[in-house]
Amino acid sequence: MKITVTINGQKYQRDVQESQTLLGFLRADVGLTGTKGGCGAGECGACTVIMNGEAVNSCLVLAVEADGATLQTIEGETVKGKLSPVQDAFARHHAVQCGFCTPGMIMTVKDLLARNPKPSRDEVIHGIEGNFCRCTGYQQIIEAVLDATGQLKESDKEGLKYV
């Protein structure tokens, strides 16, 4: 089935198998391998992309459902070599270790900040509950988000002592 999607501002037209997932489409059909596949069950959030303004698990969406959709993926975050504010904060706070969860985590945070530009620490924790990170223990990620939104206090910098 032929589908047309706009990914990070660029239009793509592809013939996809009807049983292809959006995740498989992005990685195999389009070649955008930044989005990762983890559990395949909506638990880990590694495959999170933003579809028509909403964060979704791309492993649980069919590619054909995305026909006509506007998608944002991790590849759209860095523009002309400049990291997005969230990416930059993740880098500065060592919020990345193995990096496998990072693309999904960053897309989830981007969506969270679009809905809630100044989330509290608790709101950040609640907001990323659909994204597993098995390396960082989340501290650095939470602090990166608070910093990216100009809210990080000295007393919040618990995670840095482990860096």
Binding site: G40, G42, E65, T108, E129, G130
Partner: protein
């Protein structure tokens, strides 16, 4: 890539029902797909056809009528219910449970109707909907029928739904609208998890209604209690109604214990 199936996106209700009348037994309908695609990947479901209800007009309404009550269409995602001011004001326990369901990403896709049709004993939407006496509208080429939610779910992942039928919407009458109550869910972790056990309770000046999830093959609605009923009376009734099991998430003893603990907490809350 999932197992090979044909994708069908009907653009009219008649087209959908005609298709189901012929191919219903080999078909899985979906809206959010958050259960279906997990099941297909896990080999629990292998449909020849997968039908997207989102392409059918008229299934995405979320509306409130002072007489008819709340109508939740088949394709209304949980996020919409969670953020709806009327649901929050008049059916607060539904909104509370919607917020407890899975994660933001999943709530953006998963639907309230899908949560009921999946008929998992631990589905978050069933207990509050049972408390509010929700009705399920079922339709097929032959017409439509209304079934009380308490009759709709018949066992673990079993419902009265036939292969040629779909649930078009859930209707929540106004009988208990605006009453106080809450939904308490026990999870293994603070983040998202399937419920180990959950209890919903609402109370009017005349009656207390209680429903329990994850403690029997189906969600359980207890008989109505008078508003003066003690927590002990409710717990005694609950003990007779539930049949918890041991599984990977918890023991049956802990489930039984937490049902009673939640009844105590909820009873204190609605009496406060």
């Amino acid at each position: 890539m999932l197992h090979d199936f044909s994708y069908v996106a009907p653009t009219a209700v008649d087209e959908l029902f005609t298709f189901l009348a012929t191919h219903g037994t080999k078909t899985a309908v979906f809206s959010g797909g958050t259960d279906l695609f997990v099941n297909i990947r896990g080999g629990l479901s292998a449909p020849d056809y997968v039908v997207n209800l989102k392409s059918v007009p008229g299934l995405s309404d979320l509306s409130f009528d002072p007489k008819a009550g709340l109508s939740i269409g088949a394709c209304v995602p949980v996020t919409r219910v969670l953020n709806d001011p009327t649901v929050n004001k008049k059916y607060g326990v539904i909104a509370k449970a919607a917020g407890e369901l899975a994660t933001h990403q999943l709530r953006n896709r998963a639907t309230v109707v899908g949560n009921i049709v999946t008929a998992s004993p631990c589905g978050d939407m069933s207990s509050p909907l049972l408390c509010y006496d929700a009705q399920v509208e079922i339709a097929s080429a032959g017409g439509s029928r209304i079934v009380a939610l308490k009759e709709f779910i018949t066992g673990v992942k079993r419902t009265v739904l036939q292969p040629e039928e779909i649930v078009t919407r859930i209707i929540v009458p106004t009988t208990y609208a605006g009453t106080k109550g809450n939904y308490l869910k026990l999870k293994r972790i603070k983040g998202h998890d399937l419920g180990v056990v959950a209890v919903a309770m609402i109370a009017t000046s005349k009656v207390i209604r209680v429903a329990i999830s994850s403690a029997a093959p189906t969600p359980v609605l207890l008989p109505d209690f008078p508003a003066s009923a003690s927590a002990e009376t409710i717990k005694e009734s609950a003990r007779k109604a539930i049949s918890p099991i041991d599984d990977v998430r918890c023991t049956k003893e802990y489930r039984a214990f937490m049902v009673e603990e939640f009844i105590d907490r909820l009873h204190a809350e609605v009496k406060a």
